[in-house]
Amino acid sequence: MIFQSIDYLVFFVAVFAIYWRLPHKGQHALLLIAGYIFYGYVHPWYCILLGATTLVDFTFTRLMEDRPARKRLWLICILVSNFSILAAFKYFDFFTDNVLAVLHLIGWDAPRPVFEMLLPAGVSFYTFQSCAYALDVYRGQTWARRSLLDYAVYVSFFPQLVAGPIERAGHLLSQFEKPRRFDWSVARDALFLILWGLVKKRVIADTAAVFCNKAFSLSDSTFPIVWAGVLCFCVQIYADFSAYTDIARGSARLLGFDLCQNFNHPWLAQSPADFWRRWHMSLSSWFRDYVFIPLGGSRGTELRVARNLMLTFLLSGLWHGAGWNFVIWGGWWGALLVLWRWLDKWVPGLTQGAGAGRAVLRWGVTMILVNIGWLMFREQSFPDLVRQMLTSPFAAPLDDWRIGGFFAALMLIYSLPLWIHAALQKPLLDQWDRWRDTRAGFALQLAGGAVLSLAFFSLSSRVTSDFIYFQF
């Protein structure tokens, strides 16, 4: 089920109407049923995988506490089980294609094994969430839950099931264990957040997608069209993914839950590391806590830290998709972080200097690097990626510059609300707790709601698409 559909609206209204009439455990039972309906709405068999992951992880994490002598074994069972599902559904084709390509090189053409299964939406998200829980139990950072119902709802909590944020047990699971009360003011905020998410998705992301697809559809694209297309993709992916997070957070708040933060204005980043502190924060922190730090983190020699960073980002790239372009994208980020770290250490004046001019320069450089990365992310055909990377600004005709300029200007206009949002962060939104129940705060929210509503109904793109991160 997708958030921007009437089906979700009807589904959510029904769940919401029943939910607040039920006792605590009844609410959980309803959320569990709702989660499975939401997930299996188009392909009911997806629920089997979700159920299997839940049962296996719940059972083995309990065993970690009940039979601690074999704690490590139980953890391995969980990791093998979860990553086998990912390997089978997400990476099987990628793996076999590459093995067959290598065999072909040595002159042996083996038949391609057939495993035609759809990649279950969001499998990478709930698998990682479940793994995080198991790892936390293993490390003693949380305890193994005794209630299968609580745990099953935690894994299948529908607002964030398909595209995150990837929650930790300490944050979300503990909220299931406490009683919840409906709050009118919070509900108003939640609805505003959902409306804002819908505008980002239907007005900004879906429009950007149309122009991005156009730019990437050319067989003979030139420098200005390629990079205008990348700019469109930059707007599309941020608006799309953060819209999902906003709708997820708004829906969860209406049910009495607070989901973790996933974005912090990534377009304001001033270094590659800063970008990853602001972009898909729940995934970044997952890789930091469960991959980078166990590998040694920032301890040890510079070469060792560089190795840790590269490995972490290569894996992060692979998490995003089973394709070489994603691996290259991960490698690009790993290399940037290493390079920036070295510059920080050896030429600190270049990366840390104070003053507006330097900040703008750092921001500009970071945005260029981010967008080069988005080209690798968006273009899944390697020969086309190389072709686009090699386009020269001097070889483009004037008409192509005009088209590029038009696309870029359009994206600037459509992304204005995102910049305004960033500008309002410090003076208004960070202090919203103080404003919320004042007359001025209410008037502001009322005006904002009316504007967003008008924008949604008059500016939505005629075509819509799935959220980009569904495929991961």
Binding site: R188, I413, L452
Partner: protein, 368 residues
Amino acid sequence: MSTTADTITGPPVQPTTDKRSAARLLIWCVVCLATPLLLLRESPSPEEVPVAEAGGGRRSASADSLDVRAVIEELRQAKPDYIGIGNSMMFTRLGKKPDEISALTGRKFFLITKGGTDTPAWYLTLKNVVAASGVRPKAVFLFIRDNELTTPYFGNDKESPVYLQSLRGEHEPELDSYMMKSRSESGSAMTGKVSRWLDELYSFPGWQERMSRHMMDTAMDVGGFGATKKAQRFALSARFGLDHLRGDVPADMADDLNLMTSSYKETTESSLLPEMMRVAKECGTRLLFFRVKRRPDAKTHLPEEPEAMRDYADFLKGWLAEREGIFFDETYDESIRLTDYLDGDHIRPERQEWYRDYFWKRMKGVFP
């Protein structure tokens, strides 16, 4: 408590259940729901819709509309033997103008094509242009793909509302009933009703087109390096023409062939096809449907499609034959190769001549 930099509102606070908060929530919801109804209720008048200087559609008053009167007049003067109604599948195969196909066959052809059009627009063109002109062609032919002619999911979200509007007569009960039914059937029974109700209340296509046009015009003013909008639109049309597209871009491909259902009879009867057959009969012509072949596999020369599609094609052929309609299916014709394709279902410009010949050979079998 975490900061909420990625949200436009703050984090949840301590619960308050006072009546004032409840009233504020209610007021907020009412304002958000009522504002568009109040401000967007009146559609912008047609003359306010800017005319696209670049044109694009054949015989268009603007890029998005058809000048029905002018086309009827042309039809009356041309008195064609055959009339083609279609979208890019047709004009990439036969050409945008009928001159080549007329020269090849020695018959008078007339083509009314517009990219992105589907069954609703074709139905209106047949009824309000061809039938209304009073001409009596031997046949009216349409290019279709898969089961889109009769599927209830098709034709509601892609077509330009302005183009459809320009084709509409004062009363179009069959079309309206079909559009409503399609919307209902594209969701579950329950959500279909809600969707229909919401659509009646909150659909503002005129404003959407107008606003999107304004945005684009502004972007052209800002980013066009001083070129006129007319010049920029020409450049855009030419640059993103089919001959510049990548072969792996599945232009116009249907989103999900799994939508294929086995209830052919039901969906066919409730589609616009019976109405199209009735109109054709009334104006003394025959309808001829060419089911085009999607880009085939290089080895098998056949496109990938569900088994059910072949059953559907057989059914449709029989259904049409019973009503004096004609159905050609080129899907399984191995003479059409992968190399003939530009993308998903468009033929390369250099293969047009060959295709026209192929097309006429099939037509000649029925209309010698």
